[in-house]
């Protein structure tokens, strides 16, 4: 499974890690829904740390699309909300 951390690049993560990542991701999503910036920041950093720890960086010349994409480390909740909308942050 390929996971991208925006601003950092892509990681190859074992499928077995999916359950753990999903759990953290749910916490992240709940934090966004409840507008809880502190919980959001903790969850995001936890999630990114997990991907970095479990994954191995893909070579720079890989042209694979990612299965999962994570916001960059310093993202605010607001940025993530925009990221989740079709005409949000991602340039054309």
């Amino acid at each position: 499974m390929i996971v991208r951390i925006l601003g950092e690049g892509q990681f190859s993560v074992d499928e077995a890690a999916t359950a753990g990542l999903n759990k953290l991701d749910t916490v992240l999503e709940t934090a966004v829904e409840h507008n809880d910036e502190t919980a959001f920041s903790t969850a995001l950093h936890g999630l990114l740390a997990e991907v970095r720890a479990l994954g191995s960086p893909l070579p720079a010349d890989t042209l694979e699309p990612s299965d999962l994409i994570l916001p960059h480390q310093d993202s605010s909740m607001d940025e993530v909300r925009k990221l989740l909308t079709d005409d949000g942050l991602i340039p054309g």
Binding site: V3, R4, G7, D61, T62, L63, P71, L83, I90, P91
Partner: protein, 344 residues
């Protein structure tokens, strides 16, 4: 100004989501895009948004091979933008560096002024100087934090630009291979995959450029504000060489205390009469250098001179100079000009 323009295709159809042969996208994704989706996790949703962008762009192309060339063109443009972005951040960082140096110099100078003012017994002036120093120091601390951020952005963008370069190279190779062995059925899948991969990277790099741009803009605004503050004299521009009010007051005080010393020297000469003229000349020399010094130093100098005189004068004629009998006996409580005391 945005570096990366958002290309919004006129058609908003999401058919690309399901038409992509490579990885089927769940129908739920369509709802997701409208924000009405059930729980799916941030990671998945973000990746679907990226895929939807790529698919929209793909759908616009009649001939898949056009997609390759068009995309490659945009990749090269983005490479140029990201490199320009790195240069912009570096320029901004250097400006901040310059300002930090100025503020540092200003702070040192104000500290020095406070010391001098206090030495002259002007606590009010010293306080004013220290207040300005605190303000300069505050600005400096803020700048340092922002400087670190800019450095971080610069590094990130540099890495992003290198990664994009690798991907663009890989894409070009793949593009040529696909074109050479083009058979409509198989090419479509391979093109879509390569396109999605690169377009995801482009989206990522595009956002990184925007972030760096925002930070740079904030930084520029701040740098401009500090420049204005310095121009107004509020922070005392040590670089400009302009004399600030604290400095001119200090100079004025130093000048007036020179006058006072000169006056008391003259008074001393007059009361002591003609025989003391030689000694008066020696005093005049020491006064000039004493003008800005503290009492203790003035005393030490006075003593040193009193001790030095017998040696130089005493050798040939050995007249019983009046000072000779007293050097060790100068009282500690003597005033700043001990020789005046001797004279009168």
């Amino acid at each position: 100004m945005r570096l990366v323009a958002r290309a919004r295709p006129p058609s908003s159809r999401l058919s690309g989501l399901s038409s992509r042969p490579g990885r089927p996208v769940p129908v739920a994704a369509k709802k997701l895009m409208k924000g009405t989706a059930a729980r799916m996790g941030v990671m998945k949703r973000v990746s679907l948004v990226f895929k939807a962008k790529a698919n929209k762009a793909l759908d616009k192309m009649e001939d898949p091979r056009e997609t390759l060339d068009y995309s490659y063109q945009r990749q090269l443009e983005l490479l140029t933008k990201v490199r320009r972005g790195v240069a912009d951040v570096a320029t901004s960082r250097k400006r901040v560096e310059l300002q930090m140096n100025q503020l540092q110099q200003s702070s040192t100078k104000l500290d020095d002024q406070a010391r001098k003012a206090l030495g002259m017994g002007r606590e009010d002036l010293a306080r004013a100087a220290l207040e300005r120093k605190a303000s300069a120091q505050g600005q400096l601390n803020d700048l340092q934090a922002q400087y670190a951020q800019l450095q971080g952005e610069e590094e990130k963008l540099t890495v992003a630009s290198q990664r994009l370069q690798s991907k663009v190279d890989a894409f070009r190779t793949r593009k040529e291979t696909i074109k050479a062995t083009y058979t409509a059925a198989e090419a479509q899948t391979r093109i879509n995959e390569a396109f999605s991969g690169i377009s995801e990277e482009m989206g990522d790099v595009g956002m990184a450029i925007q972030r760096a741009e925002d930070k740079t803009a904030q930084m520029q605004a701040r740098a401009g504000a500090i420049d204005e503050l310095m121009a107004s004299g509020a922070l005392d521009d040590a670089i400009g060489g302009r004399r600030d009010d604290i400095q001119s007051e200090l100079d004025m005080m130093a000048a007036s205390s020179d006058v006072e010393r000169e006056l008391s020297r003259l008074k001393g000469e007059i009361t002591a009469g003609a025989p003391k003229q030689l000694e008066g000349g020696a005093n005049g020399n020491s006064q000039a250098s004493q003008a800005t010094q503290a009492q203790g130093q003035a005393q030490a100098q006075g003593q040193a001179q009193a001790q030095a005189q017998p040696r130089s004068e005493g050798a040939p004629y050995a007249p019983p100079a009046p000072q000779q009998a007293r050097p060790a006996a100068i009282p500690v409580s003597d005033l700043p000009e001990p020789q005046d005391g001797e004279g009168s």
